[in-house]
């Protein structure tokens, strides 16, 4: 993944060749988005909760130094060993040294986007350490030697027949089997053996609490818990922005996270770790890897508030119709398109253009990150810094592929019309390449399709 095989535009053109598959991908993610809406509508104070989440995170960004120092002190008192890693390489070396110290060459890992960002698996493989990802979706893509295409639903780009074929090859399930129940059971058995035999387990961190020096890990499958409770060593990797001030703030974030992600009221397991169990060792690796730089960019630092719910992916008309792999970065989707250029502008210059700037992402974001505005600002920065050599090909090519589908207009059209009417500055300006190369039409109050349905009074 160190060289981009294709930019977002060409990769989405590729993805759009199988139209039925794209439609299915689009609808499946829209279904997840609708589940989110249903869950959200049951909480009358939802908007206040988002505001609370946003303000708590703003406060954390402004006091990051002190909270991290407090967290380190409390966690150390709890018997947890704290490590600091300036970049992905250092993170990976710390993990490797812990594994080596245990005299083992295998590890089980639950979902951690940070380790994807650091390319930990590849690093350890070269060192002769076998890593097994225990989240079902991650295990599926790992067997296929693909990266996850979505941060919450890593295998969302695959149909059940493809999973069946992968399991047939790797787990010996029956050829042609596609029943999710049967396939999940096969993975359960396979991973249970893994959990029972690994001495080192790595997890991510959803929230780290400065006040108490503990951390919370959320899963539905129970895979993080199965891994660490049966291992001698628990390694938890976190970007430093995962910190929150107090335990009581968890009330806000646990109410926001799962509802925004999948429409569940909470994840099945929300596990709070404060001390290693008797005889166990616990490590936390606090990682920078470009985050301090992002913290220093006033226009983009808000992206560090992200709680990785993926609501912005599910609602994004471009993501839904281009697929996660077209983003060629560990974190895809709208938020990934803001985070990636911070790490490498030249390599990721295409990503802020993979958006219609419709604003749907910002509307669903549980911590109120101004995602689409940041995407727009990145475009300006990238142009100024000379990273957009061929603006037209970047901007137009992907958009024209994605936007040429009729179902795109059904789901995204309403938002687009709203936006063009209410925020013309975003669509009508010199830096919006899409605008530059075509005349933006006047906005009709309703689409032909809506008009037709209204006039005919039905389907």
């Amino acid at each position: 993944m160190n060289n981009i095989k294709q930019d977002h535009a060409s990769a989405s053109t590729e993805f759009n060749k199988d139209e039925a598959h794209v439609d299915w991908h689009d609808e499946t993610l829209w279904f997840v988005r609708s589940k989110r809406d249903k869950a959200v509508f049951q909480i009358p104070e939802w908007e206040q909760l988002r505001e609370a989440g946003s303000q708590i995170k703003n406060h954390v960004l402004s006091n990051m130094h002190d909270y991290l120092v407090e967290f380190e002190k409390k966690a150390t008192e709890n018997g947890i060993k704290i490590h600091w890693a300036a970049d992905g390489q250092e993170h990976n070396e710390i993990v490797y040294s812990i594994i080596k110290n245990e005299g083992v060459n295998r590890m089980v890992k639950s979902k951690s986007m940070l380790t994807e960002e650091c390319h930990l698996n590849e690093f350890l493989k070269e060192k002769g350490v076998e890593v097994i990802d225990s989240d079902l979706g991650e295990r599926i893509v790992q067997m296929r030697q693909e990266p996850p295409s979505h941060i919450v639903l890593p295998a969302i780009h695959l149909k059940r027949a493809e999973v069946g074929e992968t399991f047939h090859q790797h787990l010996g399930t029956e050829k042609g089997a596609t029943d999710p129940q049967y396939l999940t059971e096969a993975a359960r058995q396979h991973l249970r053996d893994t959990f029972l035999s690994r001495k080192v387990a790595l997890t991510g961190v959803n929230f780290a609490i400065a006040e108490t020096g503990g951390f919370v890990v959320c899963t539905n499958e129970g895979n993080a818990d199965m891994g660490v409770h049966l291992a001698d060593v628990h390694i938890a990797s976190m970007g430093f922005e995962k910190i929150i001030p107090k335990v009581e703030h968890l009330g806000v974030f646990l109410r926001l996270l799962a509802r925004s992600a999948t429409g569940q009221p909470i994840t099945t397991f929300s596990s709070h770790f404060h001390k290693p169990r008797a005889g166990q060792k616990m490590h936390i690796i606090i990682v920078d890897n470009g985050r301090t730089k992002q913290l220093g960019r006033p226009d983009f630092r808000n992206s560090l508030k992200c709680i990785r719910c993926a609501a912005c992916f599910n609602t994004c008309p471009v993501y839904r119709r281009s697929g996660g792999h077209s983003y060629h970065t560990a974190i895809a989707g709208p938020i990934g398109s803001i985070l990636a250029p911070n790490l490498d502008m030249a390599r990721n210059a295409d990503l802020p253009f993979a958006s219609t700037l419709c604003g749907s992402c910002s509307n669903v974001c549980p911590v109120k990150i101004d995602i689409h505005e940041q995407l727009y600002k990145w475009r300006q920065v990238l142009v100024q810094e000379g990273h957009v050599s061929s603006v037209k090909s970047l901007g137009i090519k992907s958009m024209s592929t994605i936007l040429s589908s009729p179902s795109f207009y059904r789901t995204a059209g309403k938002l687009g019309r709203f936006l063009m009417k209410n925020s013309p500055f975003m669509t009508n300006n010199n830096l919006n390449v899409w605008y530059q190369h075509r005349d933006m039409p006047d906005v009709p109050k309703e689409s032909f399709r809506e008009w037709f349905i209204r006039e005919k009074g039905g389907k």
Partner: protein
Amino acid sequence: MSSREKILSAIKTNQPDYQELNVQFKFESVYENLYEKFAEMLSFVGGKAMEVNSYEEIKADVRLHYHDVTNIATTIDELSELADFSLNIADPHDLETLNLAIIEGDFAVAENAAIWVSEKQLPHRALPMITQYLAIVIHKSAIITNMHRAYERVKVNETGFGTFISGPSKTADIEQSLVIGAHGARGLMVYVMN
């Protein structure tokens, strides 16, 4: 300079001006009947609630529903006659063959059917995940409205580990189709004691 110093000093330089935190972040949830809301949410997340008046009723229900099941363990003295599997073991790997664990929950949250269990209730952290089936006993008076109340009630660092459990383990990673019983328990029964 160590990475720690490098990171912390870069953060100090780059973080924005201090911003007070004075936003409302706790809210009330109003439910007519806490038990009913809890039971409704539990069924939404794939578990099942049952009201009981005595431990005898729990025993009867366990015998009815798990009549051919062996390897049952419990942490509840009143139910010890149901158990044929001792939790008095040193190594959690020995829980591998456990079929049913019956444990106590500290309290439950109506808005999301989450039940708090910690090392106060758990002799082994792995117990509620490694067992094939899980049953939790809670007291009806210990159902509260929402997560804000939950964090007022629980001292999360009183023990080294605690978790909110909401329903049986599940996944939808294959084409978004829901499968109960991913890696943790395949079923969750909650007995709510009047």
